[in-house]
Each structure stands twice: as C-alpha cells, then as structure tokens.
C-alpha cells in the first residue's frame, strides 16, 4: 500500500531506491573527484536536497482526533498544494508521543474517500436509494418549513427530537444542541450507551469520576486491567503499562475474552461474564482476613468501612467468589494479597465490565477494593475510570436561548448527560428528555405530542442503538429524519435528508480527553470539500432560513466563523489550568493541564456528601440501590450462549470500519466461538452460521478459537459499509444497566448482558 500516509516514507526512501548503497558510494567518490576540478558552468547539486523529505515543503497544521476514544490524539497534518498528504502523532504530547493508531493513520482516506457524502441530498422514500441533489437553501427550506409546521400543529416544538452523541467530540460541535435550543424546547435523547453505570458508581463512592493521569501508571507496582482492552482501544496507554511492567510491576488482566491486552499481562483471568463484583468482593474479604486493610485511609478518609467489613464477613467468602466467577480460590487469594501489599497498586476499570444489569454495583465493589488498600489519592494508584476535568470550556456554541415565547415541557429538569454543561439553569419550561438507550421504544412511546421529526448528528443510531428491528419500525413512524453525516450509513438510508458534514481537517475546534490531561487545538487545514459544512455552520444556515420564513423563530447566529467560535470556548480558568496565555499558544502543540499531583483526590477531599470516601453511600440508597457495594447478580441467561459485541480494533464503533485501509485487514465480520461448542453444534471453522435470539438474527462466518470462553459468542461491532448489512444490533436488546440515571440522565444499557443461540446454515 503506497497511499498518503506513507508519503513521507516514500519521499525519504526515494533516495535509497534511486541509488543502491553500492551506487551511492560510487556516486560519492565521483562527487568528491568533481570538487577538485576547476568547474566553470556546473554548480554543486545534492541528490538529497532534491528527493529527501523536507518539512518546509509542507504547511503543517495542528489537529486533534475528535472520536470517542480514550486517547484523543494530538495530530500534525502535512498539507501540500492544499491537499492533506499525511498525518502523524504530535511529538509534543508525551501521551500521543508521535504515533497514531491504525484508525488515525487512515484519516486522509476519510477526507479523500470517493464515497464521502458530498452534497445535501433528499431521498424520495426511505430505503429506496432514490436520492436527488438539492441546494443547501432548498434543504434548509424543507427542514425549516417542517419545523414551523410542527410548531403550528402542536403549539410547541417537542415533536422535534435530537439524537446526538459522541461521533465528534470537538467542543464547537455542541452547537448542535445549541441549534436545538435556539429553535425552542425540543425532545432530547439523553444518557449514554457508553459508561453511565460506572460514572454513577464512582460518584457515589468518591463524589466524581476523576482518574489519575494515565501517564503515572508507570509508578504502579501492581496493575489490574479489568474489562478493558487498551491494546486495541487505547494503544497509547500500553506504553505506560509496559513501562510499569519493565520496572517490576505485575500486570493482571481480567476479561471474558483473551484479548491482545491479556496476552501482554502476567496473569490472565477469564471469569464468568458479569461476575466481577463477586471476584472483587472475594478479594476484599481475603484482604480483610489477612489484616491488609489500610486502616489509616478507611478510618480517616472514609465512612462506612465497618459496615462494609461486616457485610464481607457475613456474606462473602473466597470460595463463594471462586464458585461464582470460576476463578480458583487459590488465585483469588494470591492476587488479592499481592495487590494489597504492592504500593502503589491500581485498577483500570474498563467500560465493558459495567455494561451489565449489575455494572454499577460491580464498579462500586472494585472501587472499594482500591480504597480499602489505601490506593485512592495516590500517584500510581487509583481506581481509574475517566474524568472530565479538562472540559471546562465556555460551551458558547451549546448555550443558546430559546426564542421569545417558546413553550415546552413542564415538570422535568431538562437535558442531562455526562457532557451536559448547562449547569441546570432554572426555566419555566424545559426540553423533554427520553432515554438514548431506548431510542426505538422512546420514539414509539412518546406521546402528546408524538415525535414527528428527528435530527441526527454525531451519531449513527442504526449501528449503535439497540434492537435494530424495532428501530426501523420506530423510524417509520417519524414524519421527517435529517442526518448530518460523512458516509452513507444505515441511518442515512433511513433518512429523508442528508447533510454533508466536514471532517476534522475542515473546521476549527478544540478537543479534550476523558482519560489523559492534554488539550489540543484543531485547525482548519484544508478548505471544506464539495458542499460540506461544519455542524455550527449548518445551524447558522438553518437559523437564516427560519428567520426568513418566520422572523424571530430561531436565535442561533446566522453568520459564523468557526475560528471565532473556537476562540469563544476559552476562558481564564482554562488558560490557567493549561498554563497558557491565549488559545493561539496551542498552535505550537498540545498542552497538558498543570496538575497539583498526577493522582486524583490527592488532597483526600472527596466530592461525596460526607466529603470522604463512602463505602456506605446513603445517596446511592436514596437513588434506589444498595448503600453498600453488595454483590448484585447479573442478568439471567435467556438463551443458550452469552453474546458479547465489543469494540473492534479497526473502528471506533461504526467509524473507520468502512475505509479501504481497514478493510484490507478486516474484510468481513466473524463470529468467534469455542471449538468445543462448535463441535457440539456441528459447526466447522469458517462455516456460515445463523446467530439468533428474541431480538433478531444475523448470518455470519464463524472462526473457532479458545480465546473466547465456552458457551459464549463474540462478534465485534459494528458496520462495514457498502454491500454489507452486518449489524450486531440485530441481536442486542435495550435492557437497562443498574446505574447511570443519577449523573447522565438515563441508566446505561446491558450491552454485554445478552444471550443468543447459533446454528449452521
């Protein structure tokens, strides 16, 4: 493959290709001879200057990967002739450290894919494939007239819904929510399918979700990676895990799948899926029995430890934990002792392990394990889950006022979410909120007024929302669906209008991470291609049309300069936190927040009601859960096999998977199952099988591997692009996880609490 990402290497290798080493040496000797001659006409010529890569031949821009990923890479983009030639990771960020992941390197393929959505288009009948080009003006005219019709019919705009999540985390993209507010009170799909149960759990225990700087993992003496696969999903974090290991730390990986991360650990546990709580509590009981509790921490900086200890003594044994999890008791004891005696020790709590009906309870049990060993507030320690400390922007694009006289929903508290930065302003009316994890059901159930119109941006509901068959039925009840997209997804296929949106190289914005502490600017590196526009430019166009048709009907500014809007996101607090004078300083490279300590909670002042770590949380109890991190059983099996649909290495949810470079290595989806189960089902390697359950079915080729546990089926999400209707959401229902509603507005979803059967076809 000699495409754009390898351009630099091409340039640099040209010299060696043109002259073999032998010829090169010969050339040198001749050149040396020439320098002795009294030449009159010829001037010195350096082959190197003509063919080598020269940075000054390029315009270099700063970009930041805006995808929903731990790593949020700082990117350097090399542009020549107005074309992105290649990109690389920024060296200035010690986290990105000059390298990108396999997906990131493929970015130029995204901008220059012939299959990009280029123009606003209208589909005459959903799923017909009958598309016509329309001008932006006509597209906006259709949309604006529909909005005005809804307002006329219902007396409010609650019939207009917004489905948006993490497709583009560039801060100015919160202008999509701003656009909705600027139109009136609307219906918002709130919550998150990603990490809500764990967020609530950490809020009950610690008072916030706030992780240590991942770069301080090198200081850990004992690392447990629990339900996360950074070797695929946070490749930049692996260098810290590896360095900790090199310095002598033991690395334990706990995962129902033997992942690439597991392969790099010292110990691998493959527990029964969703038994994590039992495993953590069994370890806690052993630590208690061995007298390895950090008494200073639990007495001085925590409340409720006595009650927790009593619970452990009365209800938990190592043998019980072993029975529930399938991990031998001797191993549980050994790892527990080593974890408790290592100083510092840390646990990386992955998002996968909390996508269960008992996910929040399991995270609380793991938090307790970290806390009782005194590893909270310690550099190299910590119950690492995520943070939003570097997200203190102004949210200028987000915070738009409803038009004068707008009416909306009365009685609820307005939109919520882990990225909700509206600070709960009091209003007489609010938006109507429905659960993003039950998108299909919410569309079907919402009445008075019904949902008539859906705006989709930064999201691909047909790839990510649950119960795809139901979602199609739900979409069919909507009078208008508008999708803002870069590629033709199943969601676009189920839309009436598609609007082409810019890539990261075509707009100004700024990006922060929910894992590391670097913040990077995203410069516009090239002119937006075709008729693509950024989300805030689209909002401005809609506002212009709304006001043209009905003056005063939209408050969103009608002329937008994305660079100016980026500037409006910064404030003195951000500047101080980042140690910069002005946002333009970020043009020199990403900057890391000035942290008092690499450890979260290092001052032992917790955000809980008591100000201490809460083994016993009354707030948790008030919200309908156990006050203590008691064991909660997972979802009961409703079919023969456990079904797991985790993240693929070659995509971020449904993004990237369709690009040619990804498909070079990941040509088609597979079901992975254990050879023993396959034998029982008379299934051979590479057979085509039918996977089916109460939600739906899909046909897929099978690969047999003992990397997956017996009685489990593993299919990596999500979408493959043209000519492939593969979609794991045909098999995943919308069962809620236990927690999430407190901090994110809706409970999470039991993505891994799913079951199915399989047969050869």
């Amino acid at each position: 493959m000699t495409g754009q990402a390898t351009f630099k290497e091409d340039c640099m290798s040209q010299k060696t290709r043109a002259l073999s080493r032998r010829q090169f040496l010969k050339g040198l000797s001749v050149a040396g001879a020439a320098s002795l001659l009294p030449l009159r006409l010829l001037m010195p010529y350096s082959a190197e200057a003509a063919t080598a890569f020269r940075e000054q031949d390029f315009q270099i821009f700063r970009n930041a990967c805006p995808r929903n990923c731990y790593d949020t890479c700082s990117i350097k983009t090399y542009v020549k002739d107005g074309v992105v030639k290649f990109i690389e990771g920024a060296q200035e960020s010690t986290f990105t450290k000059g390298g990108l992941c396999v997906k990131g390197y493929a970015y130029p393929r995204r901008v220059y894919s012939p299959d990009r959505i280029k123009y606003p288009m209208v589909q005459d009948g959903r799923r017909t494939g009958n598309w016509r080009r329309v001008s932006w003006d006509e597209a906006m005219d259709r949309i604006a007239k529909k909005i005005l019709e809804i307002k006329e019919k219902d007396g409010n705009l609650l019939g207009m819904g917004l489905s948006k999540y993490s497709g583009n985390f560039g801060i100015t993209n919160y202008g999509v929510e701003g656009m909705m507010s600027s139109l009136g009170y609307t219906t918002r799909f709130v919550g998150t399918p990603c990490w809500p149960a764990g967020i609530d759990a950490q809020n009950y225990d610690l008072g916030d979700m706030w992780c240590n700087d991942p770069e301080d993992m090198v200081k850990s003496r004992f690392v447990i990676i629990w339900g996360a696969n950074p070797a695929w999903c946070s490749v930049h974090s692996m260098k810290y895990v590896n360095e900790a290991k090199r310095r002598g730390a033991k690395v334990v990986v706990i995962d129902p799948i033997f992942t690439q991360t597991a392969a790099k650990g010292d110990v691998y546990w493959q527990p029964e899926t969703s038994s994590d709580g039992a495993l953590a509590l069994g370890m806690a009981r052993h630590i208690l029995d061995q007298g390895l509790v950090d008494t200073d921490f639990v007495n001085t900086h925590a409340i409720g430890f006595a009650e927790f200890a009593a619970y452990l003594r009365e209800n938990v044994t190592v043998e019980w934990a072993s029975q529930v999890s399938g991990i031998p008791a001797v191993q549980i004891r050994e790892v527990a002792e080593e974890f408790a005696t290592a100083d510092p020790a840390t646990i990386w709590i992955g998002y996968g392990m909390q996508r269960h009906t008992n996910g929040g309870a399991s995270v609380r049990a793991i938090d307790a394990l970290v806390a009782m060993t005194g590893n909270v507030g310690k550099e190299g320690g910590g119950a690492r889950y995520g943070h939003l400390r570097t997200w203190g922007f102004n949210y200028h694009a987000l915070l738009q006022k409803q038009p004068e006289g707008s009416t909306g929903f009365i009685g609820a508290t307005g939109p919520k979410g882990e990225f909700d930065f509206t600070k709960g302003e009091a209003a007489s009316f609010t938006d109507r909120t429905v659960n993003i994890n039950k998108t299909a059901q919410a569309i079907l159930d919402t009445k008075d007024p019904v949902l008539r119109m859906l705006w989709v941006s930064c999201k691909n509901p047909f790839a990510q929302d649950f119960d795809r068959p139901k979602l199609e039925k739900a979409f069919d009840t909507l009078e208008m669906v508008v999708s803002v997209e870069q590629f033709f997804t199943e969601t676009v296929n189920n839309s009436d209008i598609v609007l082409p949106v810019t890539t990261l190289f075509e707009e100004w914005t700024v990006n922060a991470s929910y894992w590391h502490y670097w913040v990077g600017i995203n410069e516009q590196a090239i002119t937006p291609m075709y008729e693509t526009k950024s989300n805030i430019e689209i909002a401005a166009l809609l506002s212009r049309k709304m006001n043209e048709l009905s003056p005063g009907s939209c408050t969103f500014p009608q002329d937008i300069d994305t660079r100016e809007w980026l500037e409006k996101e910064f404030n003195q607090g951000m500047y101080d936190y980042l140690g910069i004078k002005h946002w333009t300083d970020l043009k020199n490279g990403p900057v890391k927040a000035k942290l008092a300590s690499s450890a979260s909670w290092s001052d032992m002042k917790f955000g809980t009601p008591s100000g201490k770590y809460e083994f016993l949380s009354e707030l948790c109890q008030q919200n309908g859960h156990d006050a203590l991190p008691r064991y909660k059983e997972g979802r009961k099996a409703y079919d023969e096999f456990r079904l797991l649909t985790p993240h693929t290495k070659f995509g971020l949810h449904s993004q990237f998977v369709n690009l040619d470079w990804m498909q070079e290595f990941n040509k088609e989806p597979f079901l992975y199952m254990h050879p023993d189960d396959a034998q029982e089902k008379k299934i051979a390697d590479l057979d085509t099988v039918r996977v089916f359950n109460k939600v739906g079915e899909l046909k897929i080729k099978v690969k047999l591997t003992s990397n997956v546990a017996k009685k489990s089926l593993v299919i990596y999400e999500a979408w493959f692009g043209a000519g492939n209707d593969f979609n794991v959401q045909n098999l995943v229902d919308d069962e809620s996880s236990d927690m999430g509603a407190y901090k994110t507005g809706a409970p999470g979803v039991a993505i891994h609490g799913q079951f199915a059967n399989v047969e050869r076809v």
């Binding site: 495409g3 002739d81 107005g82 894919s113 012939p114 959505i117 123009y119 997209e485």
Partner: protein
C-alpha cells in the same frame, strides 16, 4: 475537429456535472444529437437522476467515481497525483478550478472542459503550435488514457442497459476512441 465534436464534448461535460433531472435531460439531448442516437420517448428523467447519483454522486458509496485519482492511485482515493496533474494542465492553459481543492481538479467534467479548450486552441491556431499539440497528446494518452477506460468500464458495469447514462457513456467512449486514434495517426509515440 469540427463544431460537432466540441458540441458533443460540451454535452458530455454538462451531463457529468449535472445536478438535477433538468440538467441531465438538457445535456443528454445534446449528446444524443451529436452522436445521432435517440432517447426513448417517455424517459423518466427523475429515474435517470436517481441512477446518475447512484453511480457518480452518492450519498451511498459510488461504483463509478468520476475522478481520475480514483483509478490512478494504488488505492481508490481522491486528490492524488492525477488531480494535481490535471491542475497543472489547467494552469498551463491559464485556467484553474474555482476554489481549488473543493472539488477535485480531476473531475471528468473539468477535464472535458480542458479538452474543449485544447481542441479549440488547436483549431484556432493556423498551424497549431507544437506545444499545444504535445500538451493535447499528453493529456489524451498519458492522463485520460490512464483512467477514462476504467471509468467507462465501471459505468457500463453498473448502469442500466439501454438507459440514458449508458448512452452518454457510449458517447464518451466513442469520442475517446476516436481521439486516441486521431492522435496515434498524427503523433506516433
């Protein structure tokens, strides 16, 4: 080189940059006239527009991208060397694609317009300059020759038989064959 050839090229240019059924109908009419073909009465021009977008525009993945780079790079990607080659050619003709980089320079419609310019120049010059002749020969043989046959094949593979898109593609193929032959006769390699 006659007016008919230019008119045919203009029809093809307008066809491949059409953005509506009306544009397509107008351009296809001129193409048909220039090649003595007939368009079926009662043609559903909206259906032609759907097919045109399915093949060349989107929003779904397009089987026949109308850009040289999609066929000239080692991978299927736009804004490659072929696009910059086309840009250089336009610059030598004193022309440029408006807002360079927004629509790839090697879109078939731009290239057909550059061809119109070249052919008009060749015709206007009493004894055409060797430069223009060389440029024209290079453009046909080295540039268009590398991708147009692949584009025509992709289009023929995916267009409905006997349809308007197929007619336009046949006209493009016929023109290009003729152009190659003419050059071969007057400018042996």
């Amino acid at each position: 080189m006659n007016d008919g050839c230019i008119a045919s090229l203009e029809g093809l240019r307008d066809f491949f940059c059409a953005s509506s059924a009306i544009d397509l109908k107008d351009a296809a009419g001129r193409i048909a006239e220039s090649v003595d073909a007939a368009i079926l009465p009662g043609t559903d021009w909206t259906a032609v527009e759907y097919e045109f977008n399915r093949l060349f525009v989107g929003p779904a993945a397009i089987p026949a991208p109308p850009y040289a780079s999609a066929y000239c790079e080692s991978d299927r990607v736009l804004m490659g060397k072929a696009a910059l080659e086309a840009r250089q050619l336009y610059h030598r003709l004193g022309l440029a694609v408006p807002q360079e980089g927004v629509i790839p320079d090697d879109h078939v419609a731009y290239e057909l317009e550059a061809m119109i310019v070249l052919k008009s120049a060749l015709r206007a010059e009493a004894s055409s300059s060797p430069d223009t002749q060389a440029l024209h020969a290079w453009f046909v043989r080295e540039h268009l020759g590398r991708w147009l046959p692949h584009f025509i094949l992709a289009t023929r593979t995916h267009a409905s038989a006997g349809g308007v898109v197929a007619l336009a593609t046949d006209a493009l193929a016929a023109w290009f064959d003729n152009e190659l032959n003419t050059i071969a006769a007057s400018h042996p390699e």
